[in-house]
Amino acid sequence: MTTTASSTAVAPARPRKPRPSPTLVGGLLAALAFTLWAGHQISFTLAPLFTNFANGWQIIERFLQPNWGYIFRVWDAWVETVAIAVVASAVGVVVGLVFAFMASRVTNRSPWLYRAVKIVLSVIRSLPDVAYVLIFVALVSIGSLAGILALIMFNIGIAAKLTSETIDAVDAGPLEAADAGGAGTLARARWAVLPQILPNYLSYCLYIFELNIRASVVIGLAGGGGIGQVINVQFSRFNYENVSAIVIAMFIVVLAIDQLSQYLRRRFV
């Protein structure tokens, strides 16, 4: 602390206002520069909102007159969408659970395997669901099998990530007890870890099922079957009334499943 030389000054010198840290300033400048650059690259403009609104409105108006009758005409596609979500979620969360155990230091004591699994999982997660649908459509042709396989890959990534983070945070006491009793790796994971993570894991399962229903539009557009495929066909035929009816029904289905899974969560978790 510096004090002034004169004996009359009793108050210590006022500290100078600290300069903002260079990292912060640099970071903000970089973010600003990147924003401008990105906006320029995609020629970002809101002008069409004013100039082209009237034209666009003509189409939007057609969306606003949904053809309700169409919803039940494509009943099979709805059933298929739910069936795809059930199969893909079931397989995805089971495989994801196995990966989750291998992707946590708590349950995987081999540093090599741990690193390898972590890398594989980040690669799996870095591809968007559409890419998977396109790949599997090429492998097994258009249809719900491609959608199921694509969603499985997508689900493994999420289930493994969320669950392995939960495993990282379990109470270490039972693990120590299992070790002291000479339990093997598998038994230890099953009896000291699984019961602790089970509530969280079950709620991830329900969450993933919801995600899969939501994703069905995307899946179908890329050729993976279900209601999305119907949207794709109707959209390319400019049957906007049919598209909006399905979209609204889809919205209600998502809300209903959301409510159901919240109920199940309260009931069982």
Partner: protein
């Protein structure tokens, strides 16, 4: 507690009927779904051999000297398309972030009046329930036409739902002390919102924005398949041509760019949360919640 000497009878082992029923129910559900999915299960065995064949074709593209024609062109094209997706995600996230601030305040119970909270929450839930793709198809494409802007705005609108909800939850979780202090000193409402509320949630909210950016990178690829630009458009073109060498290159570019952006964004998020926030634990908990919600 009974004395050890007084042996009590062993209790009846509880019936496993309920658990068995649940398992049977799940099995029936799964079996029914396998049946109703109308999938060509017979194609499944060929998956590995087919996959291996195409994997080899893709590797051929990747393993060619990337500095010779036409491979250099493929790499550049994939990279440009992927960067377009990143730009779309970034601008879209910013649009959504800016829009989500007023929504967040209006949906926080300790900020806005009861009726405003109810109305805003319903709006936010509606937005969250609609996939970005639907926004793009129904509203953005008619107005903005094919191209990245429609996709960007769709990503922005889609982000408002989750970001608004998370901002509201963060605002509801603040320490009420500073608010009371500011009120006690007679500060105007706007100053309280800016200094007592916003400063407390800023680190968390910034972290949510970055997390949403990571998610939007993947989502922008999805929008590409309906012609909204970015790597999705390129990918669907390549798949319809079955140009496996270029597909291999493009997939690799997607993976690499996504991993790098995730890594950068993730380390900034950790810095913001651990450096900026006093309530470190709370911040980390919020992150966990965000990962489930987003």
């Amino acid at each position: 507690m009974t004395a050890p000497a007084a042996r009590t009878a062993r209790p009846q082992e509880p019936s496993k009927a309920r658990a068995t029923l649940v398992w049977i129910g799940l099995a029936v559900l799964l079996g029914g779904a396998v049946w109703l999915a109308d999938a060509r299960w017979d194609k499944l065995p060929g998956l590995l051999t087919q996959g291996w064949k195409y994997f080899q074709l893709m590797s051929e593209g990747v393993l060619q000297n990337p500095f010779t024609e036409p491979w250099s062109g493929y790499w550049t094209r994939a990279f440009d398309a992927m960067m377009e997706s990143v730009y779309m995600a970034w601008v879209g996230t910013l649009v959504g972030a800016v829009l989500s601030i007023p929504f967040g305040f209006l949906a926080a119970r300790n900020v806005a009046p009861q009726w405003a909270v109810q109305v805003t929450r319903v709006v936010l839930n509606l937005i969250r329930a609609v996939p970005e793709l639907v926004f793009a198809i129904v509203i953005m494409l008619p107005i903005f036409g094919f191209g990245p802007i429609a996709g960007t705005i769709a990503l922005g609108v889609g982000a408002v739902g989750t970001l608004g909800k998370l901002t509201a939850e963060a605002l509801e979780g603040i320490d009420p002390g500073p608010v009371e202090a500011a009120q006690a000193s007679g500060a105007p409402r706007s100053a309280i919102l800016r200094w007592a509320y916003w400063t407390q949630v800023l680190p968390e909210v910034l972290a949510f924005w970055l997390y949403r950016f990571e998610i939007n990178i993947r989502a922008s690829a999805v929008l590409g398949i309906i012609g909204a630009g970015g790597v999705g458009t390129l990918l669907s073109q390549l798949f319809s041509k079955r140009a496996w060498d270029q597909i291999g290159i493009t997939l690799l570019v997607i993976i690499a760019v996504t991993l790098v952006v995730d890594w950068i964004s993730g380390s900034i998020r950790h810095r913001i949360i651990s450096g900026g926030a006093v309530r470190k634990d709370a911040g980390e908990r919020e992150q966990d919640k965000a990962e489930v919600a987003l």
